[in-house]
Amino acid sequence: MQSFRSNAVRIFLTLTLAFPLLAAAGTLRVLAWPGYADADVVKAFEQRTGSRVELTLIASDSALWELMSRNSGGDFDVFAVNTAELQRYIREGLVVPVDLQRIPNRAAQQPRFRKLEAIPGLVHDDKVFAIPYTFAEMGLIYDRNQLAAPPESINALWDPRFRGKVLAFNDANHNFSLAAQSLGRATPFALAEHDWRDAVERLIALRRNVLTFYTQPEESVELFRRQRVAVMLANYGSQQLKLLEAAGADVGYAIPREGALAWLDCWAISRGVRDKALAEAWIDFLLEPGPGQVLTNRQGLANTTSPVPRGPEGAKLVWLEPPESIERRTRLWARIISGDGAGKVLAR
């Protein structure tokens, strides 16, 4: 009896003393988007590695940039960023290369995500700065009751038949890219000087054709149903489709022939990383089938290990790239959405 008791005391002491040490040994500071690291996924990782995860959520690129650049990346270890945005982090030296040897689960990724050099912006000077995690293409969601066939072109958004029944997204960058696609430009990310007037007029025309420009997925679903919207640019892609279907809407999804702008979110490691091996373990863990399924089933987001679940195979995806001038796009767009005419928009 005596020895049992002293053993129990010893075990208790060992546990209480060892536990804070374990926790202190591995704290991983993760900066991610809603749905990328649900509580159960985080818990599974914590249990496996004996570490503790501090999760911070952001909902916009600018919020991500603000948090990451505030302390030269010193506040976070690992973060999720899309390929277009990644470029400025690389430029500012806020990220460090990923050691591919430490991400064995890459082997299970779809071929298009294994060829990292084929994705614009991931590889610089033979160094890999991010690992693809999830992606979404900005396809078109349409009301099957109002459209007999899926819209084939992005120009469906400008179709006067749907005047006041179109939903577009309130984003300067993407909208200028859309305008460029609509104008048939080769790349949507590099408007030439003479393209600007056309693009602005195209976007003013879009403004006159839409019901409104939304920002949140929930808001788009509410507007879609209440205002009997016919066509919507799905900035959040399949996530919005899933929400609409859940709300009982009879909707279809189409990738326009110009190609759907697509963002590809990757995991990158901050310059301020404390335990790089733990950060790489996190990235590797999220490429396992379990977390991938959570991403797809719960959030409606595509993971990089399963085949693309929706849309025609081989549909054209245009991975987002940094535009020629985010500042100019932003400035002009602010005037366009405020209701100015082309003359005022293009004025200096």
Binding site: A59, A63, R207, A334, S338, D340
Partner: protein
């Protein structure tokens, strides 16, 4: 001061008083503190309700203003293409409304046609009002406050969600939290041709509404989903506009029920967001509202640092502490006084008893008191008087007894023992002073026949009368004694010569020679007296008595009734 009843009683009373005061003080403080906190909480909740009611009233006021615009004939005239005159009229009305309502950012009339082109627009730009014209008028058809308002039935006002205004060219409103109230303008057929819109400055409106709140109150406002719109830390507001939501339910635990709509007001004890060291009491009230643009409910909250409330309680506490300390002091003083009041008479009695036992007067007893102590004092006094009486009696009988033991009961003269003592003293004095003294021995002549004839009672009376005559015949310093049945002795002190003794002896003889009248009988008898002198006839009583006796018996043999000195040659 020894630890007597007084100290113990004082200590006990003081202890009881201090404990009573202390406990009363503590519980009163405790109860008042929670009452105070409760009342502060209720005050907070009431303030929040009042403020949210003010918001509703303010909204109604704005709604009336927008109705004035929408129903103004000039508005319809403008939208029906009525030329410049109605435009100027409506602009004037709008200007007046803007100038009397500093919380208005913009007033506009927007047409349903031409992609929602603005027709009349007055903007606030700092301190001045700006009339926006021509090219600067914008197309607003894609904003919810236009397309949702156009769809409204008559009589209803559109109220937008509160957001940051990003509309370029809106002057003061740009980048500011604002909301729009709008009403459609109908033509005679009931078609909505446009909308009148008032842009409201959220912070300006709240600055007015909350101007009279106490300094330490913190004001919070959120939308239906909990996003902060007003927060003491302005960086926490409109997080959704910057892509990072900052929500009530994440900042204050327990407010989820309010967001879910399970309750419409809530009172919580929490702490300053981001500062767990500053406890707060917070009240949140949800004002429900739904319209075309969705759920436009607002949640209003007021918080007050618990410190401010507790500070009041602490002031109360220190006041109570002073009262309690005062009471304790009063208790201690009262305890000492009571103890003294009780023990003073006890001490007085104790002193009285002590004085009594020591045959001293001692202090007076508190006989006049009407309480138990008075009764005790009176009983004690009675006892004291009784004992005093009995002692006096005892003293008297003792001196009587002493007298009896030294005197002859029949004649009252000294007895043999006392006489011997007196003689011894006189002899000592005579030896010391070198003086002389005489010892007489006398005997009644023929006393036996008298006794036989008249009886013993007469004989005894006669002896008494005889003693009286001896006493009257001698000085006070001389001593007469009865030493036998009819034998008497007299000590004469300080005589100069034998003649002095003879004079006294003859005086006694002549006194005795007077007949005695006893019980109706006249009796006459004589006495014989023998005298011995110190120092010539003897040095002690035995010798002097023997010699006086011998001298007397010598004359007795010769016929009695005479006086004889001792003569060593004859006797």
């Amino acid at each position: 001061m020894k630890f007597g009843i007084a100290s113990r009683l004082a200590l006990l009373l003081a202890l009881v008083g201090i404990l009573a005061a202390g406990f009363t003080g503590f519980y009163a403080y405790d109860a008042s503190r929670s009452l105070l906190i409760d009342s502060a909480k209720n005050e907070l909740l009431t303030s929040t309700q009042v403020l949210s009611r003010r918001i509703v009233l303010a909204r109604e006021q704005i709604s009336r203003d927008v109705r004035i615009l929408a129903e103004h004939p000039a508005a319809l005239a403008i939208l029906q293409g009525g030329g410049d005159e109605p435009v100027e009229t409506l602009a004037t009305v709008a200007r007046v409304l803007m100038s009397v309502n500093p919380g208005y950012f913009q007033i506009r009339l927007i047409s349903a046609s031409d992609n929602g082109k603005e027709r009349v627009r007055i903007d606030r730009d700092g301190a001045r009002l700006v009339r926006v014209r021509g090219e600067d008028l914008q197309e607003k058809g894609h904003y919810a406050y236009v397309f949702d308002t156009l769809a409204l039935p008559p009589g209803e006002t559109y109220v937008s969600r509160i957001v940051i205004n990003h509309e370029q060219g809106a002057h003061s409103a740009v980048g500011q939290p604002s909301l729009q109230l709008a009403r459609p303008v109908f033509d005679a057929q009931g078609h909505s041709l446009g909308v009148a819109v008032i842009d409201v400055d959220l912070n300006g409106m709240f600055a007015l509404l909350a101007a009279d709140l106490p300094q330490d109150y913190r004001l919070f406002l959120t939308n239906a989903r909990g996003d902060f719109l007003i927060h003491p830390d302005s960086t926490q507001t409109f997080g959704f506009d910057r892509g990072r939501r900052v929500r009530l339910q994440d900042s204050f635990a327990g407010t989820e029920a309010l967001i879910d709509g399970r309750v419409d007001q809530i009172l919580i004890e929490t702490h300053e967001p981001g500062d767990s060291q500053t406890p707060l009491v917070a009240a949140f009230v949800c004002k429900k509202a739904t319209n075309a643009s969705g759920d436009t409910s607002l949640i209003l909250g007021l918080a007050q640092p618990l410190e401010a409330i507790v500070a009041q309680a602490d002031r109360l506490g220190s006041a109570m502490l002073k009262i309690v300390l005062g009471l304790c002091l009063a208790c201690a003083v009262a305890a000492v006084m009571v103890a003294r009041a009780v023990t003073h008479p006890i001490n007085a009695m104790s002193a009285a008893v002590k004085g009594f036992s020591e045959q001293r007067g001692g202090p007076g007893l508190p006989l006049e008191r009407r309480d138990e102590i008075g009764a005790l004092a009176r009983s004690f006094n009675q006892l004291r008087e009784q004992i005093g009486q009995q002692l006096a009696e005892l003293q008297r009988s003792r001196s009587e007894l002493e007298h009896l033991s030294q005197h002859d009961t029949l004649t009252g003269l000294a007895n043999r023992a006392l006489f011997a003592d007196r003689v011894a003293q006189a002899l000592a004095a005579a030896r010391r002073d070198g003086t002389r003294l005489a010892l007489m021995f006398m005997d009644l002549d023929k006393f036996k026949p008298i006794n036989d004839r008249f009886g013993h009672a007469i004989g005894d009376a006669l002896l008494g009368a005889f003693a009286d005559r001896i006493r009257s015949g001698i000085r006070e310093s001389d001593t007469a004694a009865r030493v036998g049945g009819d034998e008497f002795m007299v000590l004469l002190r300080d005589i100069h010569d034998n003649e002095d003794a003879l004079v006294v002896a003859n005086k006694i003889r002549s006194l005795v020679n007077e007949p005695f009248l006893v019980d109706g009988h006249t009796i006459s008898f004589s006495i014989s007296i023998g005298i011995a002198f110190y120092p010539e006839d003897g040095a002690d009583i035995t010798e002097l008595s023997k010699h006086a006796d011998q001298a007397m018996y010598r004359i007795k043999g010769r016929g009695a009734d005479s006086v004889a000195f001792f003569d060593a040659t004859l006797d």
